[in-house]
Amino acid sequence: MDDHGLDQTAEQPEGGPLERDSLFEAPPMVEQERMVEAVLFASSEPVTLRDLAGRMPHGCNPGEAVEHLRKRYEGRGVRVVRVGDAWAVRTAPDLGFLMQKEIVETRKLSRAAIETLAIIAYHQPVTRAEIEEIRGVSVSRGTIDQLLEMEWIRLGRRRMTPGRPVTFVVTPSFLDHFGLESARDLPGLKELRAAGLLENRPPPGALPIGHGEDGEHEIGEQPELFEE
């Protein structure tokens, strides 16, 4: 289709082999796809494009190769999925029934922990006081601890409000565990936002809800370590 041969190299036609006009020409896209396939299959954890680029020969375009690979595996027994800014191969969820042997019993999370996790995911970055305000009870010791330990949440930036409280956000392993490409893909996020349910509305006057009885709140009021 392309008669004067020199159509841009950058726009690689699918799988089209490269005309080698340089010693260090990147390998053809089919070859790049094979490489990505090998690396993603070999790793049980998601691999970033950056990491892929670091391993592949100079000049490769891992992003494009991943995209080809993803298409190739559509509808197959394993799939190429995106996790944050990384990629991984995972079995198709409808085949879970075959995997009785592989199932890992995870520690059962308490209702409080599940709700706290959901609040962090939907409201992130969110402070402890805000979680308490939403749930109407103080966050018990150990709940946050447990989520941190599972590496489903981590510390975000401190909130620039008095007391500069720490915030929590969810991690890539959280995304991986729940098969989410990004936190934007949380189910129902848009609807919740549109309904104003993710807003942090200050109560008119003082409401008794969400104010843990004892010292838990100091967080909000206490001058912080890195206060100037």
Binding site: G96, I134, G136, E149, G179, P187, P204, P208
Partner: protein, 265 residues
């Protein structure tokens, strides 16, 4: 007075509702605080949470709390705080707005409560949807065995954020546990206070603020003031015990007053 009201409330409840309330009370341990309970109560209204009657909800809650009291079920303090607040909200909603009154209107407060309930419900639904998703290790799986083709052996050291924070906490806690050395400069002892009080109370015929007994130079610096206040208070109690002094306080946090209890009086 509110009892009459309460009876009305109870009377207007259907048998079914009362049974439901009874079940709630028995189960009170199962609730994660007042907001959780309110959310459960709101379900009996069977309407969209945005159109819920907060007034009705307040009534239900107050009935619940009263019934729990009747049944001698201990309710945690925050349930009672919520009851007091809802009683206040109820009165605001029932009475015509007083132009003199400051602060948010009953409707604003009610709207915010409705918002909180809706938001909590929304988060619960979201949590359920999240947990209902396909999960790694249960529904879909990663590569069973990563491949090790070539081992270029090297050692890295790892530590998690938890390790780091716990490590810091450990040091700093240890710090706080160091043998406690009294900073004598800022401590006023009870013995000193007692000595001072004994020589002064003879002159106190009428009620006098306890703070006026603090020694000179101990009023301004908060640390010294705290120590002197505590010591003077303890000394006062001692003198009351000895029958030399009377002590009174009209309400919480108001001034503590002393009067000498002389033989003549």
């Amino acid at each position: 007075m509110s009892e009459q009201n309460l009876f009305d409330d109870v009377a207007t409840q259907s048998v079914e509702e009362r049974l439901a309330a009874e079940a709630l009370i028995v189960d009170v341990e199962g609730y994660e605080g007042p907001l959780d309970l309110l959310l459960t109560l709101s379900r009996t209204q069977k309407v969209d949470l945005r159109r819920i009657s907060v007034l009705e909800l307040a009534r239900q809650y107050l009935t619940f709390v009263d019934r729990a009291k009747e049944l001698r079920i201990e309710l945690a303090a925050d349930y009672l705080v919520m009851a007091a607040w809802l009683a206040f909200l109820k009165s605001r909603l029932l009475l015509p707005p007083d132009p003199e009154e400051e602060g948010p209107s009953g409707e604003e407060l009610a709207a915010h409560l409705a918002f909180q309930l809706e938001r909590l419900q929304a988060m619960r639904d979201a949590a359920a949807r999240l947990m209902g998703r396909d999960q790694r290790g249960r529904d879909f799986f990663a590569r069973g065995k990563g491949e090790d083709v070539e081992r270029i052996r090297s050692v890295t050291y790892s530590a998690s954020l938890l390790d780091l924070m716990q490590g810091y906490a450990r040091i700093r806690t240890k710090d706080d546990f160091r043998p406690f050395v009294m900073d004598r400069d800022s401590v006023y002892t009870m013995e000193e206070a007692l000595e001072r009080m004994r020589s002064l109370i003879g002159f106190t015929g009428s009620w006098t603020d306890m703070l006026s007994y603090l020694p000179d130079g101990w009023h301004t610096d908060p640390v010294r003031r705290r120590s002197a206040t505590a010591a003077t208070f303890a000394a006062s109690l001692q003198l009351v015990k000895e029958g030399k002094l009377e002590i009174r306080q009209s309400e919480s946090f108001s001034a503590i007053q002393l009067r000498s209890l002389d033989e003549e009086n």
